[in-house]
Amino acid sequence: MRASLLNLDYLLPEWIVCGTILVLILSYLLGTTDRRRLADLSVLGLVTALFFSVVTFFEPAVVGRVSIGNGLLQVDPFSQLFKILFLVSTLAAVLYSAGSVEIHGKRWMEFNCFLLGVTSGMMFLASSMNLMMVYLSFEMMSLSSYVLAGYTRGDPRSTEAGYKYVLFGAVSSGVMLFGLSLMYGLLGTLDMGLMAQRTALAQFPDLHLLLLPLTLVFVGLGYKIAFFPFHYWAPDVYEGSPTPVTAFFSVGTKAAGLALLLRLLLGTLSLDQTQAIPWAGDLLAFLAAMTMTVGNLAALNQANIKRMLAYSAIAHAGYMLMGVAVLNVAGAEAVLFYLFAYMFTNLGAFTVVVALFNLYQSEQVDELTGMGKLFPLASVCMAICLFSLTGLPPTAGFIGKFYVFAAVIQKGYFVLALVGAINTAISLFYYMRIMKAFYFREPKAEMLAAGPMPCGYNVLIASLTVPVLIFGICWSRLYEYCSTSISSLIAH
């Protein structure tokens, strides 16, 4: 491990994202108010950051884990993989918002700065190795996202979303902070590397004591990832937020929460110790089962496509939690793979939602009839994404489910696997409701009047859907990267 205060070059992606914020503000002050120009700038920044994240992922020094700032941050394949995930979702959100009718041109710069602010918070969170740093970056991410949720001030739904998000978020942050401080008290250090050593050496008399702080932290994260029973805010916030933000929350924020959860459970408490805590796995399994069931059942009756996808996002958090619940390497790898599959799929589906909202100002499933005829490419991509969300081959979503179920069955949680399987069948029903509207019904007369889908959206939709298919057929490389990441997390 390369330990030094000055490995700052490894944080290049973060610097670039932060720098992009400054550049955006400066160019706005210097008179560039054109949305397109600003979007070009931020896309440029994000792509560069993405490039360096990918480069650092493969760097041998990073594979050996680079410590920064006396253990405050750590750059390892695990953190880099998550950064790639965050950056891709941010990129998608920026591109969505660049053409979105929901976000007004004049305030687009602010919007974008907040978005990048959330991203940088997430990126630091993925690298945090110190509880203080964890909390700081967690709050950086949260505070900016509260603003994003309530961004369209004129829309009461958005205001409600922002307000709800702040209230729930503040409580959950508080609970989490309490948990973190208890951990500090019990283990005598804020450094997660040291914590790992202390728990691994079993100097600690009774690991059961850790159950309380862990539970509290879990509650805090549960709000962010939207687990049962901490998911109540999610549908309202997702429905009320501007659609680009919803897409971003449903992928990026969830991923950030999972990054921290995995690092805490697998990186900080060594694996066998976590398993030694009684009921931890079973409790997580129960929550996983409840999360997906609640999400799927509630989604069945949703007529609003955003709200439906919000409940679907809750259900997917449940599937991912299945992989966490097994508390082993196979499960964690499955979660990572699942996250990647879910990211492409969900962003792809949301692109279609955004594009259609721009054209029709409608989010109602039953109003969007006959889209298959009007927008063949977008509809086919939507179909592929929905099949992937259901978990049907040959899509990435299926492979993700395969890994998760494999981990669960190997561990012997048969009931959980069965619940997951039944949920898959249930989820088909509401996803296919969208397909039914798109393909089985004729377009309404007033729908025909709207112009063609902007070319940019078609490209974006296709470029998010193609990976869904590719990773459904040749996924072994991506899985290897997930494995590398998890082993960098665990090898202490």
Partner: protein
């Protein structure tokens, strides 16, 4: 080419689908030609396969193997034996006929043909896959086009029928999926290789003892039973068959139903022979219910297509009875039963395809299918009546036509295994004769219905679609050996799992 024969057969339709998508949709002629040729290639290859297949061997033939995901031991592993070759033949034949039968599709011809060819890829792959993971992928890939084909081109209640079909099948598939993963982890070294799993299954390993064996067997059985469909999982069938467009009903009844029984023979029996033997009687009882209940419900139908749909349930019951009887230890007729069962799969595929095509013909002309709404069609459409009579007689098991042979073999084989069930089961034949003959009488005999006095007889295209099936039905009724020889070695080998 020999070694890539199966791969070509599976993926040429997929390439055809892509080609179809590239043709502009106003060029209907080109679309149809491309689609028909993409379906003709697998048919030609299937005939080649039929000629080249080594009838003496029980091993998998035309095997192709390549690693797909080495970390999980997942392979691209395909091959055929005597069980799958008849199914592959049936799939290739019916798919080709159906592309021709779909030439009168009016809306969205391009999408229709592309989905249809994708469906063929899924079906071919399902019958050829020897890796469980691969099998599952093809099994599910088949569902997607089917959902759209029913939902977009179906009848008035198509939305309901499509989602019902999809949900039922998916519910079964996810159970199958769990079973596959469970099986994978319960073998050392972990494997998805179906041939290897069967070898392990034959030794009846200790670690597969109950409850594991039971759970997986039942998971598989439910998945396949939904497809067959076995009572009480059959309710999707009448809806889907009735709402689907003609060609899709043909594929549903002709090929997809066979996948259920194929799955039971390919997976349940060789991998879990012990559980299969133990559950022989429940399976036979379900088969009996299918046979008689299906026939009774068919008798009550007034919609011609529904009648054919329920007759499928009844006829698949014969298959189930045959394969259930094969597992009974010491049954001297086991070989006859299982051969009869698989032959019945093939024969029912041909006969029911004819029936659905014929129903489609009349529906295209009269725009309804009410059995009581016609009358005297024999005078109006003589050629049509000839084909219908042949198909109906074949369906009711008239000696000299193909179904007679397979049904007779099933009854001979199952008599000593389940005497009561077999004797009671013959009622299904009587009932079958009853509803078939009554329908014949109501639709074709009697006074000519003035409304339909001017219906045109079969067009050359329709005759072209029906003739090969009619020829097969007659030839296999008189001389079934070409198909029986094909499957007998593999099926006899399967029986060794129970001795």
């Amino acid at each position: 080419m020999g070694s890539y024969l199966l791969t070509l057969m599976i993926f040429v339709p997929l390439l055809g689908a892509i080609a179809v998508l590239c043709v502009p949709s106003r060029e209907e002629k080109v679309l149809k030609t491309v689609a028909a040729s993409a379906a003709a290639v697998p048919l030609a290859l299937a005939v080649l396969l039929f000629m080249q297949f080594d009838r003496g061997s029980t091993a998998m033939q035309f095997v192709e193997r390549a690693p797909w995901l080495p970390a999980f031991n997942i392979e691209y592993y395909i091959g055929v034996d005597g069980l799958s070759v008849p199914m592959v033949l049936l799939t290739a034949l019916l798919s080709f006929i159906c592309t021709l039968a779909s030439w009168n599709i009016e809306k969205g011809l391009k999408g229709y043909m592309a989905l249809f060819l994708l469906l063929e890829t899924g079906m071919m792959g399902t019958f050829c896959a020897l890796d469980f993971f691969l099998f599952y992928v093809f099994w599910e890939v088949m569902l997607l086009p089917m959902y759209f084909l029913i939902g977009i081109w179906g009848g008035p209640r198509r939305e309901y029928a499509a989602i019902k079909f999809f949900l039922y099948t998916l519910a079964g598939s996810v159970l199958l999926f769990l079973g596959i993963i469970g099986l994978y982890f319960w073998t050392t070294p972990h494997t998805f290789d179906i041939v290897r799993l069967a070898e392990i299954g034959k030794t009846r390993p200790q670690e597969w003892n109950p409850p594991f064996q039971w759970l997986v067997f039942i998971a598989f059985y439910i998945a396949f039973a939904i497809k067959v469909p076995v009572f009480p999982f059959h309710t999707w069938l009448p809806d889907a068959h009735v709402e689907a467009p003609t060609a899709v009903s043909v594929i549903l009844a002709g090929v997809l139903l066979k996948m259920g029984t194929y799955g039971i023979l390919r997976f349940n029996y060789p991998i879990f022979p012990e559980a299969a033997q133990f559950l022989a009687i429940p399976m036979a009882v379900l088969a009996f219910i299918n046979m008689v209940y299906g026939a009774l419900v068919a008798m009550a139908q007034t919609d011609l297509k529904k009648l054919v749909a329920y007759s499928s349930i009844s006829h698949m019951g014969f298959v189930m009875l045959g394969i259930a009887a094969a597992t009974v230890p010491g049954n001297p007729g086991a070989a006859a039963a299982v051969n009869g069962g698989v032959l019945q799969m093939f024969n029912h595929g041909c006969v029911t395809a004819m029936l659905f095509l014929l129903v489609g013909v009349i529906y295209d002309r009269a725009h309804h299918r009410d059995i009581y709404g016609f009358g005297g069609l024999a005078q109006v459409m003589p050629t049509y009546t000839g084909f219908v009579t042949l198909a109906f007689f074949a369906a009711l098991g008239l000696p000299g036509l193909s179904s007679f042979i397979s049904e007779a073999l099933v009854f001979i084989g199952s008599f000593q295994a389940f005497m009561t069930i077999t004797i009671l089961g013959t009622a299904a034949i009587v009932l079958g004769a009853a509803y078939m003959l009554w329908t014949l009488q109501r639709v074709f005999l009697g006074e000519v219905n003035a409304k339909y006095a001017a219906l045109p007889d079969l067009s050359p295209r329709e005759i072209f679609c029906l003739t090969p099936l009619a020829v097969i039905v007659v030839i296999l009724g008189l001389y079934p050996s070409p198909v029986l020889d094909l499957m007998n070695p593999s099926l006899t080998h399967l029986l060794t799992f129970f001795w």
